[in-house]
Symmetry: C2
Subunit: 190 residues, 2 copies
């Protein structure tokens, strides 16, 4: 009896984030999230296994975006150039209307260790996706993993800056700048 619920997934994500921000992650139940979204608990569980996963629903999409951009980057590219193409692809999806949502997500995550751990898993998953794609392009190890690590580092640093409402630059600009800075920094390590 699965009814069609328009935008159910997105409504659940927004309801969850709002409730986590208002009353805390621990105090929020799946029932409350479904209620707030005007949906049933059954609908919730058709989309997410538990309340923790709601905020990380984009992980597979993000991993695919990054990997595809690396796979499709034209011509001979260095590992960091391929990672740069991946960051351009993912950051283009963070349009300005997502900034407020992102700021709230960042604040809610920073406030809860369970969400922080889940966020660390997502970060690792995105790094693995990029490293896999680089290896498939013939990049060896450890360079593939290192380039991927620099990529996620640049992305999250840029995301933190972008989620701050005083910031006027696009996420793409911020991520490019962060990656350039990391590129310069590795020259100073030894």
């Amino acid at each position: 009896m699965a009814r069609w619920e328009p935008n159910a997934r997105e409504r659940l994500v927004r309801a969850a984030l709002d409730l986590f921000a208002e009353q805390g992650y621990d105090a929020t139940t799946v029932n409350e999230i479904a209620d707030r979204a005007g949906l049933t608990k059954t609908t919730f569980f058709r989309h997410f296994p538990d309340k923790r996963e709601v905020l990380f629903a984009g992980q597979d999409t993000h991993a695919r975006l990054l990997a595809d951009a690396i796979t499709e980057a034209p011509g001979p590219v260095t590992p960091l150039q391929a990672v740069g193409a991946a960051l351009d692809a993912i950051t283009a999806t963070f349009t300005d209307d997502r900034r407020e949502f992102s700021a709230k997500l960042r604040a809610v995550t920073a406030d809860n260790s369970e969400l922080q751990e889940r966020a660390a898993l997502k970060r690792g998953g995105l790094a693995n996706a990029m490293a896999d794609a680089l290896r498939k392009r013939g990049v060896s190890e450890p360079p593939a993993s290192l380039a991927a690590e620099l990529g996620v580092r640049a992305f999250y640093q840029a995301f933190d800056q972008w989620a701050d409402p005083v910031n006027q630059q696009t996420l793409t600009e911020l991520a490019r700048h962060a990656l350039d800075e990391l590129r310069a920094a590795i020259a100073a390590l030894d």
Copy 2:
């Protein structure tokens, strides 16, 4: 009425690891761990907040070892040389009689997502400890964080090799080799 229990902490760690390996992490209770160690639940909770923390009790000690070695590395050193000194210090504590324990710990962790998440937190904690110590020596950001990241990467890669019983090298040798390999790899990124 806290009785003195000789080696209580270590007995609890060993009992927990044995039980996790035998019957799985999820199926094991704090009561069973205390029983196996010949101790009470009260003693368990004097040492650890919950069963997950038992296997990560060494985190503070490890973080301090790494940070102190960076602080005390003599003379002008590059960030990676300071990290190399930190790895020498921590790996020296992994004597050969700990290899079997480490192999079991690695297998148990690989088998459970809750332990994997906790392990990722520990890894992040160790990286932060090194990055802090590097910054206190005047290393800027992002080089301090990057050098620390390369350090934990070398350590865990070496640890995985060392925990494999076929391996005959010391953890110190393996970690030095891993760090050298990473040092060479960063030159090939761009």
